[in-house]
């Protein structure tokens, strides 16, 4: 397996405030990686840095080439889909239009209909509501829509920002089951940011632990799950 994404010495700034202090990590093609960390550790910022939504220093390489100088739109066109914090729903558009707009950055339109079938297969409720405006969806359905919209790019890398936030446990379970299925079906690599450490450790095969803007620990999830400090701080038993 080769590295799909390599991040080296990544710093990120909001105005003059530094939010990341030299983050290093890389993720493997086809894998599911998760970044764990407390509030304010820089998890969301890391994803925003990869999507070129914040000012950064350091280097980010995707598929072997540098994306530091690209605009957000161009990173997306390389195959990086980002389901952002807050879900980024186009609330005035219908569910189907939300999915169509997800196709905008695709390299080719071949396979769009097959992908519609696939994501409607993952989320049957979205097919039922395809003609409704997205504003009428529940929180869980909007999160499903965010994942589905990201998948419509037919991405190489899927960035997910707290897909479990504010949702009922059953719905979260369903979404995580589908993330695993999508990873299996299309081989899409996933980088997941999550506060719910137990869930994230179950899904991911590799884990990075972020504390105040630095990676402080990393390893395969089955190893980190057994680590005492992780268990105490993040799993709570």
């Amino acid at each position: 397996m080769s590295s799909l994404l390599e991040v080296e010495g990544l710093e990120a700034y909001y105005g003059r405030v530094k939010a990341l202090h030299g983050v290093n990590f890389s993720i493997q093609e086809g894998g599911i990686t998760t970044i764990l960390g407390a509030n304010g550790a820089g998890k969301t910022t890391t994803l925003r840095a990869i999507s070129r939504m914040v000012r950064t220093a350091g280097s980010i390489r995707f598929g072997g080439s540098s994306i530091d100088a690209l605009a957000t739109e161009d990173v997306v066109r390389l195959g990086v889909a980002h389901a952002p914090e807050g879900r980024g729903t186009f609330t005035h558009l219908t569910v189907e239009e939300n999915l169509r707009i997800g196709c905008w950055g695709r390299k080719s339109n071949a396979g769009v209909e097959a992908d519609f079938k696939r994501v409607y297969g993952y989320f049957p409720v979205l097919r039922e509501r395809s003609a409704q405006t997205a504003a009428t969806l529940s929180g869980g359905e909007q999160q499903m829509l965010a994942v589905a919209r990201a998948l419509m790019l037919n991405p190489r890398l899927l960035l997910l920002d707290e897909p479990s936030l504010g949702l009922a446990p059953l719905i979260v379970k369903e979404i995580f089951r589908i993330l695993r299925a999508a990873n299996k079906d299309s081989g899409v690599s996933i980088l997941l940011v999550e506060q719910n450490a137990a869930l994230a450790l179950d899904l991911a095969d590799h884990v990075f632990l972020l504390e105040t803007g630095r990676v402080v620990m990393e390893g395969p999830s089955e190893v980190l799950r057994k680590d005492d400090s992780i268990r105490k701080s993040y799993l709570g038993y």
Partner: protein, 293 residues
């Protein structure tokens, strides 16, 4: 009754002009929160370009469509070169830039074409069209028809094409739009282009009635503001309906309310703006915008 019907149709004719210009205002407002005060002057300038093309011997419809194309490209260029550099400035700064544009277009038109009024041809027959006892101006009917066709085209474009969908998405949620790969800046520029195109239609259609001069669109723009306010600055449908209502009301009040006549008609538009802002600030079809501060 006949007079009433004639006045309604004639009101719809001017209303369709207000609708086109109001739609141009609303499109830019929806996407950027900016009211483009230069919209009317851009339309006036496009009408002069059409006049030049006609003057050079081009056939009417050739000049018409060529002007729409020029207006579209011009609108895109204005956004890219003049609005883009200030796009992150406070709204008020951008609005003042558009007021600057208004002055520039007005002065340049005065400079190139002089301020003298020029007659502008209508593509429709001179003879009025009669339905039994009722007489309609052919240009009035043609004007309504042309505007409706343009509106229909734009509706189909926004509703059924991928580009139209991307423009709607970019106007509504720029951050998410970038995250699906939409070049939001270009979508805004296309919006300016389309708005300039509507303006050009309005200008070319209204010019035969008003005569062409650099101040031709100032009044029309006030009515368009009234139309957009009435319909709701956040609603394209509202802009069109508002335009038609303003046109008809203006005409009927001018005809039936003795003391207003043709002189005070203009006041009706201003009174309407004030009444709407007091009674229902979001307009008939607009949504009220809640902002966190």
């Amino acid at each position: 009754m006949d007079i009433f019907l004639q006045q309604v149709v004639s009101g719809l004719a001017s209303g369709s002009i207000y609708a086109a210009l109001a739609l141009a205002l609303v499109m830019i407002y929806e996407a950027t929160d900016v009211v483009n005060f230069a919209q009317g002057e851009m339309a006036m300038f496009a009408t002069y370009i059409c006049w030049s093309l006609l003057d050079a011997g081009m056939p009417y419809w050739g000049a018409f469509f060529a002007t729409l194309a020029i207006a579209f490209v011009g609108g895109v260029l204005i956004e890219r070169t003049i609005i883009r550099p200030v796009e992150n400035a406070p709204i008020l700064a951008i609005v003042i830039v558009t007021i600057g544009l208004l002055v520039i277009f007005n002065s340049v038109a005065n400079w190139i074409y002089t301020g003298t009024q020029k007659p502008f041809p209508s593509p429709f027959p001179k003879e009025p069209i009669k339905f039994g006892e009722i007489v309609f101006g052919a240009h009035d009917l043609g004007q309504i028809g042309v505007t409706l066709v343009v509106l229909l085209c734009i509706f189909l474009f926004f509703r059924f094409t991928p580009l139209g969908l991307a423009m709607r998405a970019a106007a509504q949620n720029p951050v998410s739009s970038r995250l699906v790969g939409i070049r939001v800046g270009w979508m805004l520029a296309l919006g300016w282009g389309l708005a300039a195109l509507f303006g050009a239609v309005a200008g070319i259609m209204v010019a035969p009635n008003l005569f062409l001069d650099p101040n031709m669109m100032l009044g029309v723009q006030i009515y368009a503001f009234a139309a957009a306010t009435l319909g709701g600055f956040t609603s394209p449908v509202g802009a069109v309906v508002g335009g038609l209502i303003v046109g008809v009301v203006e005409n009927l009040v001018g005809t039936y309310v003795g003391f207003i006549g043709t002189e005070l008609k203009f006041t009706v538009a201003l009174a309407l703006i004030i009444v709407v802002l007091v009674v229902k600030p979001s307009g008939l079809f607009g949504r009220s915008v809640v902002k966190r501060v």
